[in-house]
């Protein structure tokens, strides 16, 4: 069975095409482009990506409006069935607003938009998404966000750490995130949200390919052919 995936596009998404290209390049198969107003997802999905951007102009809170759009009901249901879901940047904000991941992403501590390559430490190399990395490996992935300051209460943070659900941590201060958290997993391990953009680092022409292994991990974990 070829790999079948979906990339969701909201009004204001701007990393959806990059994400679709990255998934197609690394995982192959069919990448469905799905519009936010659709009420259902294509059948038989192996992977869903919620891309970055400024969905709905970041009205109310980043990701808040997108999280209540019709397609997100279907994404939440699919996640519940165990379909792997990756949210990057605005996608991470949307997944927290939709309740698929704990915590919230607030305005960067330094107020400014941060757009640069950052060193990320792989905290958990056992998850579907991170299995192709080594624990404590430091990789380079770009960030580009204004609201990436991860917040959760201390009890939640302790639980996330204790359950190995911190996937990535910034190896240097970037945005004021609690405990430098850059990416978190849900309890079942099939949903990952992260502020850095792995889809922007899949080949040398982009300045590096450290993001590629994330998509390779998804493909390897699903036992389907590219």
């Amino acid at each position: 069975m070829p790999f079948t995936s979906a990339v969701i596009t909201f009004p204001g998404s701007n990393c959806d095409r990059d994400m679709a290209v990255a998934v197609e390049e690394v995982c192959g198969g069919t990448v469905h482009r799905v519009w936010h107003g659709d009420a259902s997802l294509p059948e038989g999905l192996d992977f869903i990506a919620v891309p970055g951007g400024f969905s709905y102009g970041d009205y109310l809170r980043s990701g808040a409006m997108a999280a209540r759009s019709p397609i997100m009901q279907a994404v939440v249901e699919a996640a519940g069935r165990g379909v792997p879901v990756l949210g990057v940047c605005n996608g991470f904000q949307i997944l927290t607003e939709a309740g698929l991941l704990p915590g919230a992403l607030m305005r960067n501590a330094g107020i400014r938009f941060v757009c640069r390559e950052v060193p990320l430490k792989v905290e958990n190399s056992q998850s579907l998404f991170t299995q192709r990395y080594f624990k404590d490996q430091v990789i380079t992935i770009p960030v580009a966000h204004h609201d990436g300051n991860y917040f959760a209460d201390a009890e939640t943070l302790d639980r996330l750490e204790g359950e190995g659900r911190v996937a990535f941590r910034y190896a240097e201060p970037v945005n004021g995130s609690q405990r430098d958290i850059a990416g978190v997993l849900n309890e079942a391990g099939n949903v990952l949200g992260m502020m850095p953009h792995p889809e922007r680092m899949i080949e040398a022409a982009q300045g590096g390919s450290d993001g590629r292994k994330l998509f390779e991990g998804v493909l390897a974990g699903l036992n389907v052919s590219a």
Partner: protein, 78 residues
């Protein structure tokens, strides 16, 4: 029925915007400002028979992010 919903950050949640506004006030020469917390105000015009439960649900489901924010509902006399 007019309703105001005040949404503010929970205690203990850092507020970078509030801090920047605080600095700006100091830059304008206003002394004695001890702290600034930024929030949001929504003015809703809802049917008169809207229940308190429905208003609460609107706040919890959309207007406030309960991870970081509190809300207060104020009914405004017509």
């Amino acid at each position: 029925m007019k309703v105001r919903v005040h949404v503010s950050l929970k205690n203990g949640v850092l507020d970078p915007q509030g801090r920047a506004i605080h600095h700006a006030l100091e830059g304008l020469g206003f002394a004695g400002v001890k702290d600034v917390r930024a929030g949001r105000l929504f003015e809703l015009d809802v049917a008169d028979d809207t229940s308190d439960e429905a208003l609460d649900e609107m706040c919890r489901k959309l207007l406030a992010n309960m991870v970081i924010e509190n809300y207060r509902i104020e009914k405004v006399a017509a």
